[in-house]
């Protein structure tokens, strides 16, 4: 029997060292059609969830923001608008393909000067202590191998008083909604993925990884265990998505 530690990759148990590579393959595969699939899968509601995240970030002009797993840069672009020329936004993603798509998109839209792009692992953030006023991670935490390690790393790079925002799929509060959501995730999503992105496996993984992700209360406990204070969460769209917020004391 292998003594290597394991973790989940969707519903599969895999060795911890292997998960990052498997997740990377998923995102290499979907990067080109990521924005289109997001709009199709959520009916555009992901923009509302991200807008709410921006509101709760309370970011102001001149501040510094780290957007982890920033992907195609939806949040980073909004943050860059708000912090202005005297502020700083770092779009970080572990996946080279996603980062390339995000960088090309934002540069094409004229974002430069206050925006940096960094390929970084959320578990080992390559930034000095107390660097950012706000750290956000949207739809990325569930793909991280060691979530506790990542949360502690985010706490380290936050300035005292800074806030962490975790936007992630969660557990619907209503059982009826949960059933409808299950049917949608496991039947419609993989089919849609095959049709639009030519890859049903990646979207099957998406549905499975959402089910394996900690629910609202568990994630809240993880934030508190990592050292965040005044933690809270807001259910969005009946709990399909939850936004967790915690502060560095």
């Amino acid at each position: 029997m292998s003594d290597k530690r394991t973790t989940h990759f969707g519903y599969r148990e895999v060795e911890e060292d292997a998960k990052a590579g498997l997740v990377a393959n998923v995102f290499h595969s979907v990067a080109g059609r990521y924005d289109l699939m997001n709009d199709l899968m959520s009916g555009g509601i992901h923009r509302i969830w991200k807008r709410f995240t921006i509101e709760l970030s309370a970011v102001r002009g001149g501040q510094s923001v780290l957007d982890i797993a920033g992907g195609t840069g939806d949040l980073a672009a909004k943050f860059a608008d708000i912090v202005g020329p005297t502020g700083r936004v770092v779009l970080a993603d572990i996946n080279e393909s996603m980062l390339n798509v995000g960088r090309d998109k934002l540069l094409d839209h004229g974002y430069q000067g206050n925006l940096e792009f960094v390929q970084a692992d959320a578990q080992h953030l390559p930034f000095p202590d107390d660097s950012f006023d706000c750290v956000s991670i949207a739809f990325g935490l569930r793909n991280v191998t060691d979530k506790d390690l990542a949360l502690r790393s985010m706490l380290r790079v936050l300035k005292p008083g800074g806030r962490l925002l975790v936007l992630e799929f969660s557990k619907p509060a209503n059982p009826l909604l949960e059933k409808a959501y299950d049917s949608y995730s496991f039947r419609v999503l993989p089919f849609m993925g095959k049709l639009v992105a030519g890859d049903s496996d990646s979207y099957q993984y998406l549905a499975e990884s959402i089910r394996m992700h900690p629910d609202q209360e568990t994630l809240l406990g993880m934030l508190e265990d990592a050292g965040f204070v005044n933690c809270e969460y807001h259910n969005l769209t009946g709990g399909v998505v939850a936004l967790h917020r915690g502060f560095k004391a």
Binding site: I48, F52, Y233
Partner: protein
């Protein structure tokens, strides 16, 4: 702890749509938008107590934002029930309604009055988007047609209101005219003050009589 209330998806979506509509409208009046830019950095909080909804308005040079959450300092806070805000929206003199109505005002009122003035003076140029879609000639003619229509409609509506007002107050005597009501309330207030003075004088006299007998 989870925050309770209306699902933020709904309020955020509504505010996003409203913000988009507002900014599109503002883009039709560049002078108004520039004036709003002078209020950049101000945050106006509109706190509705029933139903419990908060909206934060942040004017900007490029874009005016409408938020459902705001953690920073607020320049002016207006608080009241939905009915009070509806009364303000329908009032012919919003500034007077704001001061004399049931709405609670907190903070610096000068930027709020300036904001109200800018909104009141907005002169949207509907011709520009029409010309962009229909072309110079057709767009201009359609805009002229709309302007004439609006102008005639507005004149007819004003005339109807004036005549209706005259009929209700003067012909049918269904309700007293505004000046009569104001005069009546003024008399009533003065009578109330005189009664209160008389009452306190009587109290003093009673007390004096009790002291004399004792």
């Amino acid at each position: 702890m989870a925050a309770a209330g209306i699902d933020p998806t709904l309020t955020t979506a509504a505010l996003a749509a409203l913000e988009e509509a507002l900014n599109r409208a503002l883009s039709l009046d560049t002078a108004g938008q520039q004036q709003l830019g002078r209020l950049a950095g101000c945050t106006f909080a509109i706190e509705c107590t029933s139903p419990a909804i908060n909206v934060y308005l942040q004017p900007g040079v490029q874009r005016t934002r409408l938020l459902g959450f705001h953690d920073g300092p607020v320049t002016t806070r207006v608080r009241g029930a939905a009915a009070d805000f509806a009364e303000l929206a329908a009032a012919s003199d919003p500034a007077a309604t704001l001061i004399n109505g049931n709405l609670a005002l907190q903070g610096d009122s000068a930027p709020l009055i300036e904001l109200q003035g800018i909104i009141g003076r907005l002169d949207l140029d509907w011709e520009a988007p029409l010309v962009n879609v229909l072309g110079d000639v057709a767009g201009h003619q359609f805009a002229e047609f709309l302007r004439a229509g609006f102008s005639a409609g507005s004149a007819a509506s004003n005339s109807l209101l004036r005549q209706l007002d005259e009929f209700i107050h003067e012909e049918a005597r269904l309700t007293p005219p505004r000046l009569e009501v104001e005069d009546f309330y003024s008399d009533l207030q003065s009578l109330q003050q005189r009664v209160e003075r008389l009452q306190s004088r009587l109290e003093r006299l009673r007390k004096r009589m009790r002291d004399t007998h004792a």
